[in-house]
Symmetry: C2
């Protein structure tokens, strides 16, 4: 019989994690006490995300290591999305007592690998029994004296541009949903998103007016910038890359490849609104901020309201 969480117990499991934790110089106190303590240079930026089994992930579609990477990446993307520098992560893990310790160890390894990759520190967490696996990630960051970038600052004439990937995770999920495992590039993109770490700070340096990460879907998320800034976000579909594997999956599943880009979240690309003369080279322009005039704030694609899929909403 493989060893389970119930065989080992809460405190020994926590020690299995804390024994591996290496914290950065900003960390005054890491995991193991009532709370973690962090030195902050400027303002503290903080966000909480929840990921639930069967809703956000399936254990037959993603390895424990994938899930560990993905939950940390998703949390840190929210910090990047404010133009801030990620510094720390806290993790609340709920799982059945029957969960195998090998799953837990692989998950922990994924968490710590992503934390290491992003140059942040594990600051604390909680471990609890539950009927299914649920992961709460809190991400922390700091502004280092730089301005924060919200969804409210977009200005008419700004270039809308992104850094990262669009539609890959959604296409990967479509592949897995149909019982396939390839194209690998897309499946891997779903399993383990590649957050463009550093892109938030880059957007600040280039004077971006608004910034966010794409977690629910490009159109759904840009709608928040549209309403927050009281503008129309005009996307130009001719500027949008539709890489070959995306087209192949769309063809095989009878969908429009543009749907993956417009409605796909979870790649955690950053999308920002830049002054027209100040777009960083590594960002790709896909549209422009328009004066709403007599229109409601919202997203238009090629001048028309988007009638395709828009993205994910719970319940």
């Amino acid at each position: 019989m493989p060893e389970t969480l119930a065989d080992i117990g809460e405190f020994a499991l926590i020690q299995r994690i804390t024994a591996q934790v290496v914290t950065g110089p900003q960390v005054v106190l890491g995991p193991g006490d009532d709370a973690g303590v962090l030195n902050v240079d400027g303002l503290v930026v903080v966000s909480t995300d929840v990921m639930n089994e069967q809703v956000h992930f399936r254990r037959d579609w993603s390895s424990a290591n994938n899930i560990g990477h993905r939950c940390v990446a998703g949390g840190l993307a929210d910090i990047e999305a404010m133009g801030a520098v990620p510094t720390g992560v806290l993790l609340g893990l709920s799982a059945p007592g029957s969960t195998e310790v090998s799953w837990f160890d692989d998950f922990t390894a994924g968490v710590l690998e992503e934390i290491d990759h992003a140059h942040v520190s594990l600051m604390g967490g909680d471990l609890s029994q539950a009927d299914s696996i649920s992961i709460a990630v809190t991400a922390l960051g700091e502004t280092r004296g730089q301005p924060i970038l919200t969804r409210r600052g977009a200005k008419v004439g700004d270039i809308v541009a992104y850094r990262g990937r669009l539609g890959y995770a959604a296409a990967g999920l479509a592949v897995l949903s149909r019982g396939f495992r390839s194209p690998r590039e897309l499946v891997n993109a779903y399993r383990q998103p590649q957050v463009p770490y550093g892109a938030g700070g880059e957007a600040v340096r280039y004077g971006a007016h608004a910034l966010m990460d794409i977690s629910d879907g490009l159109v759904a998320d840009l709608t928040h910038i549209a309403w927050g800034s009281q503008v129309v976000v005009g996307l130009d579909s001719s500027t949008i890359d539709l890489p070959e594997p995306l087209k192949a999956v769309a063809h095989a599943t009878g969908r429009d490849p543009l749907d993956f880009v417009m409605a796909g979240g979870e790649d955690h690309a950053l999308v920002g609104c830049f002054p027209p003369d100040s777009l960083p080279q590594s960002w790709k322009a896909i549209g422009e901020i328009e004066d709403p005039q007599d229109r409601d704030p919202g997203v238009v694609v090629d001048g028309e309201p988007w009638l395709g899929e828009t993205g994910w909403s719970h319940f």
Copy 2:
């Protein structure tokens, strides 16, 4: 048919909360963007706790309002337990789509009441679908230039003292487990713990050497101070108050009333180790820090290892 979360949808539910949020002067950006932003005076202190249905609470034993109060109180107690000043809360709520909106509204009211009572701000959160209710609370605080109090600083000769309540929540839970609803005082203590807000700062001002909150059980939790500080925590049972309702419940359930105090958590009393000449009046001495000599670090009661119940451990 009562309205459910599935009827309303994620974004409308989030707006139901954010519309009620009043943030303090330290909050640069509250809920509604990718992350919240907070001004920090000194170091940032941060902790995450998870509360799951059937494990930490039952909806037939606690109202939604109780659960809202309790999850915030438990989170903020961890900040007090560092001797820090609580400033903010983030909330990750997972719930089935069939959950009634009235439950959600009552829960939210409890969360916001406790946040108001503790003079902190709701900084953000996440809302997700799940098979059962799960709540992740992240609490933030600051040190305002004062030292932090860990579990590692206890010194031989220190007085061990607590502020708050001990055993009430455990006795209340014992009552509910047997299908009773009184004594009300104990049931209410379980349903809605009274965190001694401000006690953490008081412990710092009186020069405490170590501090923590009692969430798993007095003996279990003090064992962390014992190991962290490499000392023996000697408790004197004759100093421990056993109020009448505690004795009545112990009698009715065939248990030793001292078990409720020694093994009971979730009242979130603070327990600290103070220099002998510096105990605040509102704290109650229950023991002393002893030199381990040839003993392992640990907790002894009246000079003997404690053989009764010790507290809660997951899995």
